[in-house]
Point group: C2
Chain length 431, copies 2
C-alpha cells in the first residue's frame, strides 16, 4: 500500500463539475489500494473575489492578520465541498484546516514560513480509513494562535511539506496542464511534455519563469528527497516526474527512475514580469557598486541579474544594470533616489519592456557547444541580447519584450526540442 | 467604562456599504469610552449560497462535520472584512473564530450546544485596546477538535453566551428592524415598538412566532441575568430592552428599568410554519393517547399544541389533534403509519393551511377579562378557533391560515395596541 499526497489547484476545482471530477480521481486512487491525503486550494477565482471585497471596505493597506483570516475562508469552502463530493461517491473523507493539520508557521502574515509540521490528526484520519483533505496555503502561528498564509502558490508547499512529514511515496501536483513542458505551449506550439526532470533543473525552470510549480515547494521536495509528479486533473495522462536530485548526484537507486538517455536540455523558460534598471554614471571607484546594492538591499529589493560596464567615452564613471521584479520597481527607484547624492550617479533609467529567456539542462554541465548554439540561434532570429547570466545548468538573457516569443521559439528549435526525443542527440553526449 | 457586546445579523452586513455602516457604529461606541466585543453573522445570503454549492455536488444528506466546516467560512469572511473596515476608521480590531474565542460545544454537528465559554483571548484583546470581533454561530468540539455550528440563528446565542461570560453590561442585538413590536408591522400597520419587555414575555413571543430573537438566546440571557437591547443597525433609534426577569420577580434594582405603567399586554405573535395532524378514531381506552405520543416521540417529533376530543357520534373512539412544525410533517406521518395496527386508529388527516396566533403579556397573570376580550375580538372578526392552548402569560389559538392576518389585526386593536400607550389602560391595572 502506498501513501499518495495529491494537490489540486484552484483551476482543478473551479466549479461543482471540477470538484466532482477531482473527487472521482481521488476515490479511484483510494480504491486502487492507496492511502490518500489531498491538499486543495480555493475554488477558481475565490481568492480574487475576497480581495475585491476587502478593497470595497478599505482604501489603505489591509491588516495582515485580518487578510489572512479572510483568504483562508477560500480553502475552508473548497475542502468541505470536496469532502462532500467524495462522500457522495461512497468513500469516507474528512477535511482539516491548516491549523488542524498541524501546519505550524512563523508569524509573518501573508508570507509565513513553515517551522514545523505535526500531522497527527491526518495520520489518525487515514488510519481510520478516511481520505484526509487539507486546506492548502494556510497555517497557524503557535505563539499567538493566529491564522497565517504561506503566500500565493503556497498550496504546493503545503502539499510537499505534508508529504515529507508523512513520508509519502509520491506527491502529485495537479493543475490544468499536462506536466512540465520544454517551453510554454502558448508560445511554442511544438513544445512537448518532459517525462522526467531533476529537481535541480526544475528549480532553475521555476526560478526563471516556468509557473507550473512554486519554487519553495521544489526546494522543499529536493531537501526531503521526495518525488513530485506534476500532472493534469483534466486528463488521465502521466505527467512529469520531478526526481529529487541533481544529475550528478544520481545513485543506483534513483538512477532506475531516470531514462538512460536523459536529455541534454530540459527546456526553455521565459518571464515577462521583470524590469531593468540602469544606474548611469556611478563613480568608478572601489565600493561604489557595493553602495548601490547596499541601498537596494536595505529597501528589501530582490535583484536578479547584474551587469557592470565601464563606458569608454566617459572615463572615471561606470554604468550598473540590474533586473528585478516589476512589482518592486517603484520601491527600487525610490530607494536609489533617496541616496542620489551619497551614491553620486547621474541618472537612473527604468525599463519594463524587457523579457528574460532561460535555457535549462543538467546536460549543459558536460555537453559542449551549448553556448555557441544558443547565441547563434538568437542571432539568426534577429534577437538582440541585452544582459547575460549563467549557472552551471542554465543560460539566461534579457531581450526586448517584443522579441521574446521569437527568441523562445528559435532556441527551442535550435536545441531539437521541437521533436520529442531529439534533444538527447544534439550537442554530444558529454562524458 | 462599560463593556458592550454588539451582535450584527446578516442583513446588517449584507454588502460593503452595510459593513462600513456597522463599522462606524462600532467605532462610535468604542470612542464613547466603552470596551466593545462584536459578534457577527455571515454576510447577507452567504449561508444560502454555500448551501446551494453543497447541493451541486451531493444529492444525499451532507456529512454534518463537513457542512459545519463549509458554513463557518461565512463568518470568517464577514468578521475579517468588518475588522478591515474598522481599521480603515482608525480603530484597532482583531477577529476571532468560535474556536479562538473559546466557544466550546458538544459534538452535535448542525445543532451543537455550548458546554463552556472561555473567552481568555477576547479579554486579552480588549485589554490591549482592540475591538474584538467574534464569529457567531460556531464553536469547537474539544474532544475531537472538530468545528461545530449552533444551528440557524445561533449567532444570537454566541452573543449572549459571550456577554454572560464576559460579564458585559448589555448585549445589543442589531437587525434590520427597530425592536420588538406589538405585532408584525407587515401584518398590522398600526403595530408599535415596545420600549421594554420582560424576558418571560420575550420567551413566549419568540416561541410563538416572533422571529426577532432566537429562543435559546433569550433563555440564556434570562438565566445569566443579562440585559438584551434589540435594535436596528440602520437607524440611531433606541430599540427594545429585554429585562432578564419575569414580571413577578421584580426587585428594587431591576424595577427602576421597567416603566411604572408596564403594559398589560406586550404583543401579538403569529406563526405560519405550523401544521395540524388529526389522528381519527383512536380507541378510547387508557393508554391509547400515550401510545400515539410515544410513537411520535420515538421519531423525535416536537409537538406544540395537543387536543383530545371524544366525538359523541362514534362511541368508544376518540380523535387526537396536535400541531407541529411543517418541516417535521412527513416524518410524523411516517411514524404514525408505521404503527397503524398497534395504535388502532382509522385515519390521519394532515393540514398545513393553519396559522397560530398568540397574545402575550405578563399583566395577563393579574388582569381580568383578558380571555373574554380575546375570543370576543376573534368572533367579531369572523375567525373560527380550531385549537386553544394557554400559559400563565399567553393565550394561543389555531385558525385557518386565510383568516390569520385578520385575526392578528382584530386582537391587536381590541387590546388597545394600535395606539401606543393605551395598552396600559385596558383590562384594569390588576393588583
Amino acid at each position: 500500500m502506498s501513501l499518495i499526497v495529491q494537490k489540486f489547484g484552484g483551476s482543478s476545482v473551479a466549479d461543482a463539475e471540477g470538484v466532482k471530477r477531482v473527487a472521482r480521481r481521488i476515490v479511484d486512487t483510494k480504491n486502487a489500494g492507496n492511502d490518500v491525503v489531498v491538499v486543495v486550494s480555493a475554488m477558481g477565482d475565490t481568492t480574487d473575489e475576497l480581495l475585491d471585497l476587502a478593497g470595497e471596505v478599505t482604501s489603505t493597506i489591509y491588516p495582515g492578520r485580518e487578510l489572512d483570516m479572510l483568504l483562508t475562508a477560500g480553502e475552508r469552502i473548497s475542502m468541505a465541498i470536496l469532502a462532500m463530493a467524495i462522500h457522495e461517491l461512497g468513500a469516507k473523507a474528512q477535511s482539516f484546516t491548516g491549523s488542524q493539520a498541524g501546519m505550524i508557521t512563523d508569524g509573518v502574515h501573508g508570507a509565513a514560513r513553515l517551522v514545523e509540521v505535526n500531522p497527527d490528526r491526518i495520520k489518525e484520519s487515514i488510519t481510520e480509513g478516511n481520505i484526509a483533505i487539507v486546506a492548502g496555503f494556510q497555517g497557524i502561528n503557535r505563539e499567538t494562535g493566529d491564522i497565517t498564509t504561506l503566500g500565493r502558490g503556497g498550496s504546493d508547499t503545503t502539499a510537499v511539506a505534508l508529504a515529507a512529514a508523512l513520508n509519502a511515496d509520491v506527491c502529485e501536483i495537479y493543475s490544468d496542464v499536462d506536466g512540465v513542458f520544454t517551453a510554454d505551449p502558448r508560445v511554442v506550439s511544438t513544445a512537448h511534455k518532459l517525462d522526467t526532470v531533476t529537481s535541480e533543473e526544475m528549480l532553475e525552470l521555476a526560478a526563471n519563469g516556468a509557473k507550473i510549480l512554486h519554487l519553495r515547494s521544489v526546494e522543499y521536495a529536493r531537501r526531503f528527497n521526495l518525488k513530485l509528479h506534476v500532472r493534469s486533473s483534466f486528463s488521465g495522462l502521466e505527467g512529469t516526474v520531478v526526481i529529487p536530485t541533481s544529475s550528478d548526484e544520481l545513485t543506483p537507486v534513483n538512477m532506475k527512475e531516470i531514462p538512460l538517455e536523459q536529455p541534454l536540455i530540459s527546456g526553455v523558460a521565459h518571464d515577462r514580469s521583470q524590469a531593468k534598471i540602469t544606474v548611469v554614471g556611478v563613480p568608478d571607484v572601489p565600493g561604489s557598486a557595493a553602495a548601490v546594492f547596499g541601498a537596494l538591499s536595505q529597501a528589501d529589493i530582490n535583484l536578479d541579474m547584474i551587469v557592470q560596464n565601464v563606458p569608454t567615452d566617459r572615463p572615471g564613471v561606470t554604468d550598473i544594470s540590474l533586473t528585478l521584479d516589476q512589482a518592486q520597481g517603484q520601491q527600487a527607484l525610490d530607494a536609489l533616489e533617496a541616496k542620489r547624492e551619497e551614491l553620486g550617479f547621474s541618472e537612473v533609467i527604468y525599463n519594463e519592456k524587457v523579457g528574460k529567456l532561460s535555457l535549462v539542462g543538467a546536460g549543459m554541465r558536460s555537453g559542449s557547444g551549448v553556448s555557441f548554439a544558443f547565441f547563434d540561434a538568437l542571432s539568426r532570429a534577429g534577437v538582440n541580447v541585452d544582459m547575460i547570466s549563467t549557472s552551471e545548468i542554465r543560460i539566461s538573457v534579457i531581450t526586448d519584450i517584443d522579441k521574446l516569443d521569437d527568441a523562445v521559439r528559435a532556441v527551442h528549435a535550435a536545441f531539437g526540442l521541437d521533436v520529442e526525443g531529439e534533444a538527447t542527440v544534439y550537442g554530444g553526449t558529454g562524458r
